[in-house]
Symmetry: C2
Subunit: 419 residues, 2 copies
């Protein structure tokens, strides 16, 4: 391989990323707890030579209202470490990235678990670091409530430092870390793992988030609707690397993309509209509320504009994205809800394989993405379609690998070998 | 099945339970991080129709001295949840029991992980609750040090209550637990798991430990050298059940047993002696020190008696076991070290298949055990020998199943169905 090629992840999530995925006529409603379903998705992604599968995580019922949770069938599913460990021994090459929280874990335990996954997968593990921004999780882990944003990132910085120290065997037989939030004496009770250290992924887009990513991440999963947003984010993160003695190629920036593909554009648009029609307004508004970290959005007229919002300790960057979109396109609450419910704030492309490849190529060659984290609207249908239709088109253009170059996730991503 | 039959577990542990297992000429020194090794062991146990495999856990380097840790190759290995999740999708029927600590986890996270394992294994998960008695782990999870014994059990009681509440779906849509150590609002973000709730296992033998077992355990893993010790423990735990509205058959008591089996007694004795000869005195004394929760045992003459011991906040029952044995048999430190290093305080039987079956039968029919947790001295050799030689002998006597009666671990153990 000589030319630069894009990296591709498959973001797996129960019935699918579209909030009405579970209502799709071919959806598998209990997908979230069907291990054979997940193994099949991972094998599909592996057969297409994708870099990795990616799992999100939150320890709680995603929607405050339990009825919505079961209705949307989105927050119901396997805990991701057990899920990826099972998938590890049913696949050979594909990377396995799981989200885990720095707020509700301890670094020694988390470092051990991911090192264990790296060993049992032969060097395919990755950790997507999140600080957990939801009140819902906070209420399941003690009564102290959600920590302020800056405090979460302070803890996350130290957490990441301890974890990477344990993975890399710092300290000559014992870590002896004694810091603000954590005190850890031993070395890890596992040998150095096959990758030297599991891959570090991050998705935070606040100032603190981008800074932490520049300091520690190998991969950044981002959300950007437009080319300009993607470019601003890309340039910003790459620019921050030098301060930590890192090169631009040390971090792969992979925005999320929600493709809806079919042989003809009309067919693709029809597939997309069929799912959009299935979004209940209550569900759309509830999801929008969670992005905005407010609870009383439903009190405002659904065909009116977004109200003014209080200062948030939740996902600052996600809130800003919604407000920006609302202003740019003058959308009502209902329109915004439907828009974000469909692709969860991520970039959506509806079209033919060539049209989708064109769009991905433009961002990849335009220097605003090193690859993409693919978020199929429903499983298995839309992942199958992406792998069968878009991947071959990217391959024909020389933009994606024809086979894995190595055995580990670090190999796939073209990251430097660790000392 | 009409007659009562014994339950059998295979306690898996890297190279083996004998402290010198890694020095055995046929040992697989990197067994602890070889997933294929573990999958093969699990399949051997499943082919023999054993009830479960069992994994211990501690988040730290077991021996304070890192050199000893790598020398013994015993505290090096997979984190058990990732290990058992991988094994789950490579086996069909055998139960999967993992140890996890109530001191270094949060109940919502732990309940989720085991429910997830129960889903992905089709109802074969079990949790062995431990409170974590070692200073070594404490030093990896903050600077507060080891909690006093009674406090650990107070926390464990509340932890178990929250976890079982989450598993069983108490609280009609939200647990809303607000207690001394934990505050948990949501219901679990998984449907009720195939077993209704994973099986609860416990191994504590202190007053607090036995009381907690009587309150919550389905299986108790115990350590007893003699018939009389086993009887006292068995009767004590069964007697405590009534106070919690439970029947004697609701809890299966499975003492550990370390069998060394061969076609002739002479051959079995020789196999055993060969391993005993491989125990370095330093390693034996270091292990004995950890059982006694003291650090300066090596200062005392190795051929002299055990010194008087200070009051311990560590494993009270294990310490008592060592002291009792020392007094009963008048053993020196070296002799005690070698004795405990060999079988780690558990019951050892060396002999022919018939001799071993006789001993197991005597305890099973003598009403001091409902089954046994088998601790092979080295893997795979001694597990293979047990399954090939002892299991068929037990089966001939009608003491063990010829095939699984059901699909879940609860089915295998003959536990009542949960409401």
């Amino acid at each position: 391989m000589s030319a630069r090629q894009m990296k591709l992840g498959a973001f797996l999530w129960a019935t699918g990323h579209h909030i009405a995925a579970w209502r799709h006529p071919d959806a598998h409603v209990t997908a979230g707890i069907d291990i054979d379903h997940y193994i099949q998705l991972a094998r599909t992604a592996e057969a297409a030579k994708l870099d990795m599968i990616f799992c999100e995580d939150a320890a709680g019922l995603r929607e405050a209202n339990v009825q919505f949770a079961s209705q949307t069938a989105r927050s119901i599913g396997f805990e991701p470490i057990s899920l990826l460990s099972a998938i590890a021994v049913q696949t050979e090459r594909i990377g396995l990235v799981s989200t885990a929280s720095t707020s509700y874990n301890e670094p020694y335990g988390l470092a051990r678990t991911f090192a264990s996954l790296d060993h049992l997968s032969g060097g395919r593990a990755g950790w997507n670091l999140v600080t957990s921004a939801s009140q819902i999780e906070a209420a399941n882990f003690g009564s102290t409530g959600l920590r302020p944003h800056a405090d979460r990132y302070e803890r996350a910085r130290e957490f990441a430092q301890v974890v990477t120290g344990l993975w890399r065997g710092d300290g000559n037989g014992g870590l002896n870390h004694d810091g603000q939030s954590f005190s850890v004496r031993d070395a890890l009770d596992l040998p150095r793992s096959p990758q030297g250290a599991p891959v570090m992924v991050q998705a935070g887009a606040s100032e603190d988030g981008k800074d932490l990513a520049a300091r520690t991440a190998d991969v950044v999963f981002s959300a950007a609707q437009t080319f300009e947003e993607a470019k601003a984010f890309y340039d910003d993160v790459k620019r921050r690397l030098a301060a930590y003695g890192r090169e631009p190629e040390d971090v792969k920036i992979m925005p999320g993309v929600a493709p809806v593909v079919a042989a003809t554009e009309a067919e693709a648009r029809q597939k997309h509209e069929e799912l959009q029609e299935l979004i209940p307004d209550e569900v759309g508004v509830a999801l929008l509320s969670s992005y905005l970290s407010i609870s009383d959005l439903w009190r405002h007229p659904i065909d009116g504009p977004l109200p003014d919002l209080p200062e948030s300790e939740g996902m600052k960057s996600r809130q800003a994205l919604v407000v920006e979109q609302s202003r740019r396109d003058g959308l009502s609450i209902r329109q915004l809800a439907r828009h974000f419910a469909g692709a969860r704030g991520h970039w959506r492309i509806v079209g033919t394989p060539a049209q989708i490849a064109d769009e991905l190529q433009a961002r990849f060659e335009g220097g605003v993405a090193d690859g993409f984290n693919v978020m199929p609207s429903w499983f298995p249908g839309e992942l199958d379609a992406f792998c069968a239709l878009v991947v071959p088109e990217l391959r024909r253009r020389g933009l994606f690998r024809t086979d894995y170059e190595g055995r580990t996730l670090r190999d796939h991503l073209g990251l430097k070998r660790l000392a």
